[in-house]
């Protein structure tokens, strides 16, 4: 049997009511599948994994999975994750955040986690909008887009989250989309295995709100949009900025080495004992 049926059901919490809470066609469920396959593929035990989220539609992910799961406050998932990682360095700590969660209210914790190089995998579900609260613009909403809070067009410029965390010091940064579910799964697997702060930006359709305001439309159309507007980093390297205009560049964007905070802390603690 190779069906995902068994794999996913090994990890879903049977006590939770399904179908899950997300809208029809929402990308978060696809990411959830990829995450489970990545964890399973890496061979981790369920007790090895801590899944931490902030608040948002994406924040609802951990509750469905049979790991150690923690649903924190809006924007602060990484602060709790930091405490858990340092208290129990053996655990694989994964933080799931929305774009608003991670880069609006939580932007500071994001860049500081990157700087400090805390060994956490940050999965940012970037749907370019606030899903949970009803379609307001987020720090990744494209300039000019009309949203529930930018009725005359968004006046602000979006973050390039990958670039931001790179500048802040993250040693591993990758980006993919839920359309590219297999690649996504592999990137997540690599990121979790990697020691240090790893960030994966996952482009994910918010069908209900981004679909409506952008005019892209249905789930299928939004997935199609992802398919049509994605360029791998390998291809992108040979493209001009003009050609790259409006494209989402995917793949491993940064892969470097840097000692992690808990390794450094363990070092001084060892020195203490000697």
């Amino acid at each position: 049997m190779t069906g995902q049926e068994h794999l996913i059901h090994r990890y879903l919490r049977s006590s939770k009511r399904f179908p899950h809470v997300w809208c029809p066609g929402c990308g978060i469920g696809i990411l959830l599948g990829a995450l489970v396959r990545a964890i399973d593929g890496n061979g981790y035990g369920k007790d090895d994994i801590v899944l931490i989220s902030g608040i948002g539609c994406s924040g609802r992910l951990p509750v469905y999975l049979d790991f150690n799961t923690l649903h924190t406050t809006h924007g602060r998932a990484l602060t709790f994750a930091t405490g858990i990682k340092l208290a129990k360095p053996k655990l694989k700590v994964i933080a799931i955040m929305g774009d608003g969660d991670a880069s609006s209210i939580g932007g500071n914790h994001l860049i500081h986690s990157a700087r400090r190089n805390i060994d956490i995998t940050a999965i940012i579900i970037n749907n370019q909008i606030y899903g949970m609260t009803g379609g307001q613009s987020s720090p990744t909403t494209p300039f000019g887009l009309h949203t529930a809070s930018s009725p005359f067009g968004h006046l602000e410029h979006p973050f390039d989250i990958a670039k931001l965390v790179e500048a802040a010091g993250a040693p591993f940064v990758a980006r993919s989309t839920v359309y590219h579910a297999r690649i996504l799964e592999r990137l997540i697997g690599t990121a979790i295995a990697k020691s240090g702060f790893s960030v994966i930006e996952v482009m994910s359709p918010c069908v209900t709100h981004f679909g409506k305001w952008s005019g892209i439309g249905s789930a299928v159309q939004m997935m199609q949009w992802q398919k049509d507007n994605t360029v791998s980093i390998e291809k992108a390297r040979n493209m001009t900025p003009t050609e790259l205009q409006g494209k989402v560049v995917t793949g491993v964007l940064i892969d470097a080495h840097k000692p992690t905070f808990h390794e450094e802390h363990a070092r001084i603690s060892r020195e203490m004992k000697d």
């Binding site: 809470v21 997300w22 809208c23 949970m132 609260t133 009803g134 209900t208």
Partner: protein, 190 residues
């Protein structure tokens, strides 16, 4: 005089908007009105409830105390809201989605089927419901409903919606002219 209506169904059936239109119409008719909606635990999915209270004087408590009318578009919505009915209240249900109604004064109409087939647009079910309801609600003028619809609906889909409303209204009038209620009609219907 205090008249309470509730529209209950699933999220996405447009019941909040229907409730607002209803409240607006009542306002146009000179009534004092309160509208509220139930935000479920999740912003999306789940059940949706839209409630209108119509009165001739200041409304103190803004929530239903005994429903004069309930429109239920699915079984769970029906079950959940029946306990809030006034003794002689009227229940209107979508006949295909709601099979069992433990209530005396019940009207069953194929609202969803009508929307899907006659209008090829499942979303107008709210307008059909509004139409039927108007036929049975003693406090609302059909003209006011038309006016309220005009002011609250996006211009593009107005005609389409108005048409659905009118269809509902005539379904309602039609039924009204030939309905006799007998007690707990569903008791045997379990």
């Amino acid at each position: 005089m205090r008249y309470e209506l509730r529209l209950a169904g699933s999220g996405g059936q447009g019941l909040v908007l229907a409730g607002i239109v209803l409240a607006e119409a009542a306002l146009l008719d000179g009534h004092v009105v309160v509208h509220s909606q139930n935000y479920g635990p999740e912003a999306r999915g789940g059940n949706s409830v839209s409630e209108v209270i119509i009165s001739g004087e200041e409304i103190d408590y803004p929530r239903a105390t005994g429903l004069d009318m309930l429109v239920a578009l699915n079984q769970r919505a029906c079950n959940d809201n029946l306990p809030d009915m006034k003794e002689d209240g009227l229940v209107i249900v979508d006949s295909s989605a709601v099979k069992k109604v433990l209530w005396g004064r019940v009207l069953r109409l194929p609202l969803q089927r009508q929307a899907d087939h006659a209008f090829k647009d499942s979303r107008v079910v709210n307008m059909l419901a509004l139409g039927v309801l108007t036929a049975f609600c003693p406090l609302i003028q059909a003209e006011s409903m038309g006016q309220a619809l005009t002011s609250r609906m996006p211009a593009g889909s107005l005609d389409h919606n108005l048409e659905a409303f009118r269809t509902g209204l005539s379904m309602g009038h039609d039924l009204a002219s030939r309905t006799h209620f007998h007690e707990v009609e569903d008791a045997t219907d379990v």
